[in-house]
């Protein structure tokens, strides 16, 4: 099996591209990230590993905007992410220049996925070690979308998805608890999914929401703490209701 690592352009006898699979491993070790699509809002949440005391946390933004109406969060190698994000931002502006229109979420996702795929089919390069969650609003129809790409270059649209560390648990949670939401409810759902795998508290998660009118907005730590408190209260109430069944005569 070790023989098929070296040059990624080579398939293994049982049809695997090992470099791509190793890249997916790198993603699995990256920080948890979740994305949820609501009726009029899209929310991205990312796990913030504890910041070092001397580090200026404002410079470590994990949720970035690609254009006024598109945002991206990722899990995996952050340096690869920087390169990919820069190329995507250039493509967003290039599209605006050539057709005088902003990109659709699907278009930029296809571009990023295409870029990731290119690096799985060239000599002497390694794949990008990250999966991205791309959210945004269609500039013509105003419909919100959430897409995910991975190191192999595949992409698809999702109602809600998670990637990175413990993404399976988050996805299971989302599958069980997803319903069509809007506004603050969507934000709560995203945070609840993240809290499944992350220590609770505003300083451990970074959340951003995007609406058609106001674009991307990062939530303040205080806001996140308030929502977390709400969620904990709801959880406690649910537990209490379960433990004490209503006494009916």
């Amino acid at each position: 099996m070790a023989r098929y690592d070296r040059a990624i352009t080579v398939f293994s006898p049982d049809g695997h591209l090992f470099q791509v699979e190793y890249a997916l491993e790198a993603v699995r070790k990256g920080n948890a990230a979740v994305g949820v699509r609501g009726a009029d809002i899209v929310v991205l949440g990312v796990e913030k590993k504890s910041t070092a005391k001397l580090q200026d946390s404002r410079t470590v933004r994990k949720i970035v905007s690609l254009d006024d109406h598109i945002a991206l969060a990722c899990a995996g190698l952050k340096a690869d992410a920087r390169v990919l994000i820069n190329r995507a931002r250039i493509e967003c502006q290039s599209h605006r220049l050539t057709v005088e229109d902003p990109v659709t979420v699907e278009y930029i996702t296809r571009y990023i996925a295409g870029l990731q795929q290119k690096y799985t089919q060239s000599g002497g390069v390694r794949p990008f070690g990250l999966s991205t969650l791309i959210v945004g609003f269609d500039p013509y129809t105003g419909v919100p979308s959430l897409y995910q790409t991975d190191p192999s270059g595949t992409f698809s649209a999702w109602k809600a998805n998670a990637t990175g560390r413990n993404s399976n648990s988050m996805r299971e949670f989302l599958e069980k608890n997803y319903k069509e939401t809007s506004g603050q409810e969507t934000v709560k759902l995203a945070i609840r999914a993240l809290l499944e795998v992350v220590e609770s508290g505003g300083k451990n998660i970074e959340v951003a929401m995007m609406t058609k009118e106001h674009g991307l907005r990062q939530l303040e730590e205080a806001e996140i703490d308030a929502i977390v408190a709400e969620i904990e209260a709801e959880k406690a109430a649910a537990e209490a209701a379960k433990k004490a069944p209503p006494k009916e005569p």
Binding site: T98, E100, E106, V125
Partner: protein
Amino acid sequence: MKLDTSGLESAEPVWATFNELADGFSAAPSFELPNTTDFDGFQKEAIQMVKPAKGTTTLAFIFKEGVMVAADSRASMGGYISSQSVKKIIEINPYMLGTMAGGAADCQFWHRNLGIKCRLHELANKRRISVTGASKLLANILYSYRGMGLSVGTMIAGWDETGPGLYYVDSEGGRLKGMRFSVGSGSPYAYGVLDSGYRYDMSVEEAAELARRAIYHATFRDGASGGVASVYHVGPNGWKKLSGDDVGELHYKYYPVMPSTVEQEMVEVAGA
């Protein structure tokens, strides 16, 4: 600026990856300069030699019901009329039209190429390209060939999600958005009739008649325009050809022959 040869290439070469790994931008191509004392003068002469005069009349205007597009059908080579039946309104796709002025081959080829690009855009993005986008694609291509002798003076007319759209695009690389345009050697005459008769609130028939009359008057005074006046209408469901009238016949429709009184007098005198 890098030449946009994407219309002529069939597949992207694999080696292009190495360029993109650097920073996504490629260097501009460089040309050898000819040995002359006066390079600027030489350039001007060369361009004048290759640039044929745009002997034609085409016009288009936006009104309440969509876009009206009209053109003559004469092709001339100096003083010789080479054809009276040239199709100067090119059907790019069922909802977009292009007009031809300048070099016929250039217009035909690049309009067809634009049609290909529009279709590819539709297939990739699952939605029609806007008139803005289509005209910009064409303008970018023409700009990358600037100074190499292309002669194209075209109007892109269509109906997209934002309603009717009309752009003027030429081989100098210019691109203008507007409500009324006329292109070609007969355009001053067409503008006179079009501008004085134009109202935004016209019906389709009134607009078609205005377009037809404008082309007729241009063919009457301009020797390089003539043949058949074709009129097309672009509406929300695409374009439709409304009429194609021979301008000679149009002349007698607008100015029917009256029997003159002189003949009658002469008959009387002969009788007396």
